[in-house]
């Protein structure tokens, strides 16, 4: 059994190491003459060069800055709209159906329209990013607030909470897990949208533009390095969101998971 050959913690590395070995062998023994087959060491060199010259940081900085601004706008608006829809049945009935119809439109279909309205620069990109973050935040905020248990609201009523107290002490803490889930999703979507916006509205610096450049010049090493950076950023954003979520919800204890 393979069980006995490789110790468990190392098993995850087996396939990547094998793949890299095959890749290296393919280059070393010249199995293919395609210019696309670059050596792993070449990718590493390109990576080092990009990091040392700071080019990758400039591109990444531009992308991340847009990502964060767009995300902040979208998530902020999403929280407000979600809270309104969740707290008011009238607002839900007035706005909800339109919102649910609008959200069916595939996100990227907005880009050509936004490019006409906002141009090809950062304004259009940020507008698109905020749209990407907006929808999941609204949905999850709405659902979180709607699922505040009715008997708890009754307790708040008995205790004669003011509206501010009701929000601060009951509704927001109770809806927090769902709201954070929405923000987390918004962050992921905004990152996806950051890449999409750079592909579709090609202008200015950015990490995706780096990859487009690489593709146009057939610089496979550059493209592979770009894929790596994009994955790393996605992973980091996920990790940060997870940490914040864990922190913010730590007071809840583990009772839910433990039952």
């Amino acid at each position: 059994m393979a069980r006995t050959i490789v110790p468990r913690p190392l098993r995850g590395f087996v396939i990547p190491v094998l793949l890299t070995a095959v890749w290296w062998a393919a280059v070393h023994f010249g199995w293919s003459t395609s210019p696309l087959l670059v050596a792993p060491s070449k990718v590493w060199q390109t990576g080092v060069e990009q990091v040392v010259s700071g080019k990758v940081f400039a591109a990444l900085g531009a992308s991340l800055w847009r990502d964060l601004v767009g995300f902040a706008i979208g998530a902020g608006a999403g929280l407000a709209v979600g809270a309104l829809l969740g707290a008011s049945r009238v607002a839900e009935k007035l706005v909800g159906p339109s919102f649910h119809t609008l959200k069916q439109i595939s996100l990227f279909a907005w880009i050509p329209l936004l490019s006409v309205w906002f141009g090809l620069g950062d304004a259009a990109k940020v507008a698109f990013l905020s749209l990407a973050a907006f929808f999941p935040v609204v949905l999850n905020t709405f659902e979180g607030i709607r699922s505040v248990p009715a008997d708890m609201l009754e307790v708040a009523r008995v205790l004669k909470f003011t509206p501010a107290q009701r929000w601060r002490k009951l509704i927001l803490p109770s809806a927090a897990p769902s709201i954070f889930a929405g923000i987390h999703l918004g962050l992921i979507y905004a990152w996806l949208a950051t890449l999409g916006a750079e592909y579709l509205l090609v202008s200015g610096p950015g990490i995706a533009n780096l990859m487009i450049d690489g593709r146009e010049h057939f610089w496979m090493d550059m493209v592979l390095f770009g894929v790596f950076v994009v994955g790393l950023v996605g992973f980091t954003l996920n990790w940060i969101a997870g940490r914040i979520e864990a922190r913010a919800l730590a007071w809840r204890g583990r009772s839910v998971a433990q039952f």
């Binding site: 393979a2 069980r3 468990r8 098993r11 995850g12 590395f13 087996v14 396939i15 990547p16 696309l36 707290a87 008011s88 049945r89 009238v90 009935k93 007035l94 706005v95 909800g96 159906p97 339109s98 119809t101 609008l102 069916q104 595939s106 996100l107 990227f108 279909a109 907005w110 880009i111 050509p112 329209l113 490019s115 006409v116 309205w117 609201l153 009754e154 708040a156 009523r157 509206p163 990152w191 996806l192 890449l195 999409g196 592909y199 579709l200 995706a208 990859m211 690489g214 593709r215 057939f218 496979m220 493209v223 592979l224 770009g226 894929v227 994009v230 994955g231 996605g234 992973f235 996920n238």
Partner: protein
């Protein structure tokens, strides 16, 4: 107790002026709640539409920036009648269904293998996670170099988009089957296949189905992106084409169709879900 009757939505204290009272009563207990909801859904879109029509007809906005709604409706009707829209829609649907089918089979296989076998999980899961960290759009330039911009690229990207959530949810769903259920199966001396067919899969069906729905949403998203970026037919292409010619009525008509198809597909999946998982709800 009479306060209870007036208890509004979300338990706000009631300051009962007669007009408010009447509104609350009508809102809280209308004769036909369905009709009320239906009526309330219309004012906003109609107002937006009216404002849009007004803006277009008084020429507040150039038609190249925002064409009049009737122009969009006309374009939509013409492209429906000429068959152009149907042709593009058909291309897009075939692509998304083919890509989704590949992603579905691959995702289910991967998810089941990882869920049932700890050995497979140990070897594959870390790589899978790394693979999932790079969004569809991150793989695009790489794939364009490797497979060109033909049909293969679209199918691969769409199937990747569908595969990740399906595999992840299938794996987590199988992992999450309560041990108690397995124990009952053991007590009943189920064979391996009985255990899978009658305990594990029914118990994991809800998360798996969730993954399938997510997978489809992602596949649809990926389809539109890849058609916007590299295609000469399909709905996404219609949007890009209209944009390039500054024919925003074509763009908007295609956007409407993208939304309508997304809506219809969502409804189909919801109907399947009702049949597939309906039995679960009866328990409550």
């Amino acid at each position: 107790m009479s306060r209870d009757l007036l208890m509004p939505l979300n338990g706000r204290a009631v300051d009962a002026t007669p007009a408010r009272l009447a509104w609350r009563l009508w809102f809280a207990a209308p004769a036909w709640p369905g009709l009320r909801d239906w009526l309330l859904a219309w004012p906003l879109p109609l107002a937006v539409l009216a404002l849009w029509a007004l803006a277009a007809h008084l020429e507040w906005i150039a038609p190249q920036v925002l064409p009049a709604p009737d122009a969009v409706a006309l374009t939509l009707k013409e492209s429906l009648l000429s068959g152009e829209l149907w042709a593009n829609l058909q291309v897009s649907l075939i692509r998304v269904i083919a890509g989704f089918a590949v992603g579905l089979v691959g995702g289910l296989a991967l998810g089941v293998a990882m869920g049932l076998s700890p050995t497979v999980k140990d070897y594959v899961y870390p790589l899978f996670k790394a693979f999932a960290q790079v969004p569809v759009l991150g793989w695009l330039p790489l794939l364009m170099l490797l497979v060109g911009i033909d049909e293969g690229l679209k199918i691969i990207l769409i199937s990747k988009a569908a595969l990740v959530p399906i595999a992840l949810n299938t794996y987590k769903g199988i992992q999450g089957v309560p041990t108690r259920f397995i124990e009952v199966g053991r007590v009943l001396r189920f064979t391996r296949w009985q255990m899978l067919g009658q305990v594990v899969f029914p118990a994991a069906l809800a998360p798996i189905w969730n993954g399938i729905r997510y997978g489809f949403t992602h596949a649809w998203l990926a389809l539109v992106v890849v058609e916007l970026l590299a295609s000469s037919e399909g709905l996404g292409f219609m949007i890009v084409y209209g944009r390039q010619l500054f024919q925003l009525d074509v763009v908007l008509a295609a956007v409407v169709v993208v939304g309508a198809v997304g809506y219809a597909l969502d409804k189909v999946l919801a109907a399947i879900e009702k049949r597939l998982l309906g039995w679960r709800k009866e328990a409550f």
